[in-house]
Symmetry: C2
Subunit: 314 residues, 2 copies
């Protein structure tokens, strides 16, 4: 059993590679919910949706989010009616949000709602939100605090970042099954997701870092930073705001208490050599995923490094 | 000022004719809300929607409901996920329901929400729900009681009807502006809507029949029954269940306490002559509306009969 901590588009790409290689029931996903938002009365979970869609073979690879081939008639009608429709939701995607919202209103937990929707979409892997408690990632900018989607989508991550906090996380507990998925895994993989706002909220849930420290499974991460910048998105600015170097060393530092192995891009061979001297296992590979083959190749590399036959022999 | 009581597809057709002839601000619509339903967490008001859409020039004339040219991607996605999606909602139509539901949740009344949505769609006529209180039309069948949409859409009005009731109507009050729209109108027109489940809920709101009896304006109705059957829909079965003759005489009886003038189809000339002997003004005209010209012609006929210059001279 491979357990993956994931969020964002980099995470969805790695999961797209893993699903090509693993039997679906051998894959468990622990997913960031700090980006969740209430949108026109609907509970939207962007990272849960991306993981459900990629595992169902429905994710739009062009966009990196939402349903492949989706239409946007509803959101366009909202805009014509004058709504502030900066958050784009496709018509088929909306069916997921309507269903989730109804399940939550009927008293289901987010874990239960996710299980029901994933099953309806034909997904056999186990998808777990990091917590059933609402945790909201907030980004502090010179003009005030924004929700993550306001920062990321509405403002296109242009504002200067002064800090990040996860509102509600002190009271949050890991969702049912999350700690067990870490302790009983054959390997734990942190996807090449933003360490601050995709993996960060997961790690901030009380008990999560301890579980990662304590698990017998190897814990590997794939760096979303290549050279001195993120492959995509605002990870660089967010790491800098959190006083982390924007480099593979910064990624290693973010995860230092539990990380066994860091997979970095082949462009970072020099930095990998330096990092390796600290005692961390560091491996180099092509980590930038553009094609389905890139995704499968990176997934194969990480599986070879972390699964018992490979990792223990290595 | 012409005030129209309306519901259903017949009502939308008449309003489509009236909008071709009247300045928009001289038209007030009092609309049935007994058909309203909670659908996937959204507050859907089928009759308010049809009237908003027809006045905005957006109504699908092919279907008689929903937005012209709309797509159905969301509802199809819901069906693929296994939802009981017997109630069909288009993607653009859904924008209306999402907006209404959000406005209601934020504390607006249905009247306020309707005014906001109608304005956003560019409608200048005044659209008033019959009441801001929830009133639910329930149809008793041999297999139990159904909501109106369950009876009409899901069961396609095939079950035998044993009775109709309007749950909550005893506690309902006319929405703000409704009684004034009746008392201050130059004429009041009851659209050729189902007398039991489209006009019936409006009339059942306490104070409504009294207002129609007391207004100085002429009150005219257009019969939705031609010969011994409804032009469309279940009006015949519903009238019979309420012990009314399924005929223009039955329509006259449903409205007898306040009706000044009944417009019936030219096919009912003989019945009109009999009815006329009771003292009711009965006029014959072509009432079946298939084309835009039919709608305008019927609207012109009723306006000529009820507006001061015509009616008072007549």
């Amino acid at each position: 059993m491979i357990t993956v901590l994931t969020g964002g588009t980099g995470g969805a790409k790695l999961v797209d590679g893993l699903r090509q290689l693993l039997p679906p029931r051998e894959l468990t996903l622990i997913v960031n919910t700090g980006d969740d938002l209430e949108w026109w009365g609907q509970h939207v979970s962007p990272d849960l949706d991306s993981i459900m869609y990629v595992l169902a073979g429905m994710l739009s690879r062009d966009r990196g989010w939402g349903v492949d081939g989706d239409t946007f008639e509803c959101v366009q009608a909202m805009r014509r009616m004058g709504a502030a429709a900066w958050f784009n939701v496709g018509d088929r995607d909306l069916a997921t949000h309507l269903t989730r919202t109804q399940l939550l209103r009927s008293g289901r937990t987010l874990t239960e709602a996710t299980t029901e929707i994933a099953a309806a979409l034909g997904v056999q892997s186990r998808i777990l939100p990091m917590s059933d408690t609402r945790v909201e990632t907030r980004v502090t900018t010179p003009d005030g605090e924004l929700s993550f989607q306001e920062y990321f989508v509405r403002e296109r991550y242009r504002p200067e970042v002064r800090g990040v906090r996860f509102v509600g996380v002190e009271r949050a507990t890991p969702a049912p099954g999350v700690l067990e998925a870490i302790s009983s895994a054959d390997a734990v993989v942190l996807a090449p997701s933003n360490p601050i706002t995709s993996i960060g909220p997961i790690l901030a849930v009380p008990g999560m870092r301890e579980a990662l420290c304590e698990t017998q499974a190897p814990v590997a991460a794939i760096s979303p930073i290549v050279g001195d910048a993120a492959v995509s998105g605002p990870a660089g600015a967010l790491m800098a705001a959190q006083k982390l170097p924007v480099s593979v060393a910064g990624v290693a530092l973010a995860y230092e208490d539990f990380l066994d192995l860091l997979l970095v891009d082949e462009q970072d061979a020099d930095a990998a050599a330096v990092l390796g001297e600290t005692g961390l296992h560091v491996h180099c590979a092509k980590t930038i995923m553009k094609t389905a083959e890139d995704k499968a190749a990176l997934a194969a590399t990480v599986l070879a490094l972390v699964t018992p036959s490979a990792a223990r022999a290595g």
